[in-house]
């Protein structure tokens, strides 16, 4: 409806507050009489804990308490939650170790929380944390994914006799192998999907207070929605009634998957506040955030396809090694199967597919969901295969893809692991990306760059994403007597602009101005009972449909009120352009809202007010997809890669606000650029984390790309009324394969067909140097 409704690039309502320093991030919140916490963290990757001496720390100035794992055990604090239950083909259940909040007998990764020191100032707590003495008995550690399952690898959990968690399989290995053997060509790739640190710009913070009289705990922390954290704290960890635990996130400085998790720090700080009867605040620094925030990716994939003589895939096998770290985090072990597994083999029709996953424990912090959560890994595998297939067949990179795309006439298309793709124009989207990037004119640009001594390459990636996960979510809409709308959401915006987009939807359905709408989110005291949060690119669908459903409920009740006021039956009232109409007479929504709060004007049998809560439920997710083209220049003397142009064409379905969706695409692309160019979490052979600051860990900066553009090929989703497809994670799927494709295209004269991420100058230079040396030999 008009200039503020669906599809308009409305400027964000959130911005003025955040641009003037009025945001409320957790560290901006101070509780009366608060004490400060500092964690003692493990300096060993694998060590037995023989004892702990708190006495020196307790004698330090200002120290109030030192809390260790023994204290939590004595108080009956529960273990962290993981409910995965994969089985191998013999029916054997996966190895499932328990994770104590603070370990009492063994520490299993560097940076693991061992104790919390509470003092009157942050500096006192920090100083005292340095003198809590743990008696460690170190033993050899394993950090490497490549070595984790080798026979001589140190064991993270000796009781299992292996670091393997489970050998999960899909499909018929023998059938696939027979087809590969009979194929015209076999194409194989072996790929490292590097471990990355999600790195929201706001380090993790927890502030907690306990009201002993009410028995009520309040925890302030950045999150992606507090309901699940509330449930775990109440039910599993601190054993409090759920309605006595409140999680509040005012502003959260980036989520990316890692802010949705329950961490030991959250539990321990909450426990301390309850134990001491005083508010306690802990602010993590960046090094702690690197050590203890869950990481992303960390897979090694060995994939092979068989092609017929026309270049069509007849079968595929994929072996995935996944490093989940020292414990089972909430979702880490699921990602190849339930994250990437939703879509793999992605945009391609693969008649026969065998998939083997071997998740393993190592002495590293856990991996878990990070922007894309399994789908960037899956798309990277497929796109590297398609580039290799182009080499093997002599077909162009676009033609080999075109021949294998799932076509619109094959949809709805069932994926191997049971999901159904409803829509997508993969060939059309690829064509747009090639046109928008002037793919056809590339060779002239390559020749021009050559004159400057630069090797120019162009790369292509087609990809698909699975968005809108766990599609059940509540929404409540309350309209007061002055027709001000308050939305109470279980989704929680931490940068995605829900306040703006939901207001646009209210404008669309109720005809009210954006400033009549207020979004309340990030507080379990006000979010609907059925709420899950914001992750997996789900809020456009589940939150957007929640607004639509509550608006419909408001209109339905409004018709009964309007019918009463207009002296006609509710069934004869229609709602159009903000007016309830019956025959020749009409009444505004504002008048109905006022009447709804006036007992004298309300019909008998209706509750006062306009206040509707609805749970939106969908059976299926949605499948955003896209094609991205990257153009790079490589300096062969230094190995430096410049990304000179990046064109993203995305099918995010119906675009509710193009300004915001573009922002999501750009952000995702830049995280993909980070993974492919500079980001890499490195543990050494002893399990020491070498990349625990922004000095050592390569965050992408503004100059890492010269210019980006994002365009849309809108194909509405058929499985939700809004037609939306989630936009948050697509960019991170496209950038890694598009850029590796471009760099290997630039280096094709050296015969370099693959370099593992990140494509640092050193790696690129070494590849070139190796090729030159080989050529000279």
């Amino acid at each position: 409806m008009g200039e503020f409704g669906i599809g308009q690039p409305v400027r964000r309502k959130e911005d003025v507050r955040l641009l003037t320093g009025q945001g409320q991030f957790t560290d901006d919140i101070n509780l009366d009489g608060q004490l400060y916490g500092a964690f003692v963290r493990s300096s060993h990757a694998n060590a037995r804990i023989n004892g702990v001496d708190k006495s020196t720390a307790l004698a330090m100035p200002g120290v109030v308490a030192v809390i260790t794992g023994q204290d939590l055990v004595a108080a009956g604090v529960g273990n962290l939650v993981n409910d995965a239950a994969y089985k191998d083909r013999t029916g054997k259940l996966m190895n499932k170790p328990q994770r104590q909040v603070l370990p009492t007998a063994q520490t299993r990764f560097v940076g693991e929380c061992l104790a919390l020191v509470i003092a009157h100032t942050p500096a006192q707590a920090r100083d005292a944390a340095d003198v809590v003495e743990f008696d460690f008995e170190p033993s050899p550690a394993i950090a490497s994914t490549a070595d984790g399952l080798k026979a001589d690898a140190p064991l993270v959990w000796p009781e299992f006799g292996t670091n393997l968690i489970v050998h999960w399989e899909y499909g018929d290995a023998a059938s696939v192998e027979a087809k590969l053997a009979a194929a015209d060509k076999r194409v194989r790739v072996q790929l490292v999907n590097n471990r990355v640190a999600p790195s929201p710009m706001e380090p993790r913070v927890v502030a907690a207070e306990f009201d002993a009289a009410q028995g009520a705990l309040t925890v302030f922390t950045p999150s992606q929605g507090g309901r699940r954290l509330q449930q775990m704290l109440a039910d599993n960890l601190l054993h409090l009634p759920a309605d006595k635990v409140r999680i509040i996130s005012r502003d959260t400085g980036g989520g990316f998957g890692v802010r949705s998790k329950m961490y030991p720090e959250t539990v321990t700080v909450a426990f301390a506040a309850k134990m001491l009867g005083r508010p306690v605040k802990w602010k993590g620094d960046r090094a702690e955030t690197f050590m203890s925030d869950y990481h992303g990716r960390d897979q090694i994939n060995d994939a092979e396809i068989g092609l017929d003589k026309d270049g069509r895939i007849i079968a595929m096998q994929l072996d995935t090694l996944l490093n989940v770290g020292a414990y089972l985090s909430e979702n880490g072990v699921r990602l190849p199967m339930e994250g990437g597994g939703r879509i793999i083999p992605c945009v391609y029709h693969v008649p026969d597919f065998y998939f083997s996953v071997k998740p393993m424990f190592t002495n590293t912090v856990c991996t878990d969901t990070y922007r894309g959560a399994g789908r960037p890994e899956a798309n990277y595998i497929m796109e590297r295969l398609m580039d290799a297939a182009a080499d093997a067949t002599g077909l162009s990179r676009d033609e080999i893809r075109r021949r294998n795309f799932i076509r619109e006439d094959q949809m709805p298309y069932k994926t191997h692991l049971g999901f159904t793709l409803d829509s997508g124009d993969f060939d059309g989207t690829m064509k747009m990306a090639m046109d928008d990037s002037d793919w056809a004119g590339f060779e002239a640009r390559r020749a021009e760059a050559r004159k400057r001594g630069k090797l120019r390459g162009i790369g292509l990636a087609s990809f698909i994403e699975g968005a809108g996960s766990r599609p059940v979510e509540g929404m409540r809409m309350r309209i007061d007597a002055d027709c001000n709308v308050t939305l109470f959401a279980g989704t929680y915006a931490h940068g995605q602009g829900h306040d703006t987009v939901y207001s646009q939807l209210v404008n669309e359905y109720l005809g009210l101005d954006l400033d009549k709408v207020t979004l309340v989110n990030g507080d379990t005291a006000t979010s609907p009972a059925m709420s899950v949060g914001t992750f997996g690119s789900r809020s456009s669908m589940v939150g957007g449909m929640g607004v639509k459903r509550t608006a419909q409920a408001v209109i339905a009740k409004g018709k009964r009120i309007a019918g009463h006021l207009l002296q006609t039956e509710a069934e004869k009232v229609v709602f159009e352009n903000g007016l309830f109409k019956a025959a020749a007479s009409s009444i505004t929504l504002a008048e109905v809202a006022a009447a709804a709060h006036d007992p004298k004007k309300m019909p008998e049998g209706l509750a006062l007010g306009l206040d509707e809560e609805v749970t939106f439920k969908n059976e299926v997710e949605n499948f955003p997809n896209g094609a991205h083209v990257a153009e790079v220049e490589v300096d062969p003397e230094t190995g430096i890669v410049d990304i000179v142009k990046y064109i993203a064409v995305d099918d995010c379905g119906v675009v509710l606000n193009p300004l915001i969706v573009h922002g999501q695409v750009y952000g995702g692309v830049m995280q993909g650029i980070g993974q492919v160019m500079t980001e890499n979490v490195v543990y050494d052979a002893d399990g020491q984390l070498l990349t625990a600051s922004y000095m050592d860990y390569g965050m992408p900066r503004a100059a890492h790309v010269e210019h980006m553009e994002a365009h849309f090929n809108v194909v509405p989703a058929k499985t939700n009324e809004l037609g939306v497809k989630g936009a948050g994670e697509a960019g991170a799927c496209g950038a890694p394969p598009a850029i590796v494709s471009a760099v290997t295209d630039a280096l094709k004269e050296y015969g370099i067909r693959h370099i593992d991420m990140p494509l640092t100058p050193e790696r690129v230079w070494r590849a070139i140097d190796g090729a030159r040396t080989e050529a000279a030999a």
């Binding site: 400027r11 964000r12 959130e14 911005d15 003025v16 507050r17 955040l18 641009l19 003037t20 320093g21 009025q22 945001g23 409320q24 991030f25 560290d27 901006d28 500096a123 790195s199 929201p200 710009m201 706001e202 380090p203 502003d251 959260t252 400085g253 980036g254 989520g255 990316f256 620094d285 960046r286 090094a287 931490h494 940068g495 995605q496 602009g497 300004l659 915001i660 573009h662 922002g663 695409v665 750009y666 952000g667 995702g668 692309v669 830049m670 995280q671 600051s693 922004y694 000095m695 965050m699 900066r701 503004a702 100059a703 790309v705 010269e706 210019h707 980006m708 960019g731």
Partner: protein, 160 residues
């Protein structure tokens, strides 16, 4: 050891007794309770804490409060006009969707003003390189770069 510091912050004289090791950002956040200036790292990399010291962009995590003695500090809270009218840089960030979660934003805006002051009319490549010391994890920088270029034009026009 506590020391006394005196400076002007957002046009108003302020003073305080602080530990000698207190960083300027701690003084701003914890003593003055101006929490718009953020801390995102431990190593002077992220730029979330950028303020202006005597009109020049400075990472306030890398300066002691004592070093700002007698200086004039502007934080993000002091950028908009008294009546709430946004500074052209703030307005441009909104116009170009140069922020998402908002955590790096105050530092980005303060840095953007500094870039526009020093390099009026800077092109995309220059602006991108000038942002070397500011990290954003949400936006992919595209909206930030566009905002700084746009605001730079507006600010330049209003100067001439």
């Amino acid at each position: 050891m506590d020391i006394e510091v005196n400076m002007k912050v957002n046009g108003k004289p302020v003073s305080g007794k602080v530990e000698a090791r207190t960083l300027l950002v701690q003084f701003i956040r914890e003593h003055l309770r101006l929490t718009g200036t953020h801390v995102g790292c431990d190593t002077t990399q992220c730029g979330c804490c950028v303020v202006h010291v005597d009109g020049v962009a400075m990472k306030s995590c890398t300066m002691l409060a004592a070093q700002a003695e007698g200086c004039s500090i502007t934080t993000i809270e002091g950028l908009a006009a008294e009546d709430g009218t946004l500074h052209p840089m703030q307005a441009a960030f909104r116009e170009h969707h140069g922020l998402q979660c908002g955590f790096c934003t105050p530092g980005m805006v303060m840095m953007g003003v500094d870039i526009a002051n020093r390099l009026p009319g800077a092109d995309e490549k220059t602006v991108r390189h000038q942002l070397e010391g500011n990290i954003c994890r949400c936006t992919g920088y595209q909206g930030i770069v566009e905002a700084i270029m746009d605001a730079s034009t507006v600010m330049n026009a209003s100067r001439s």
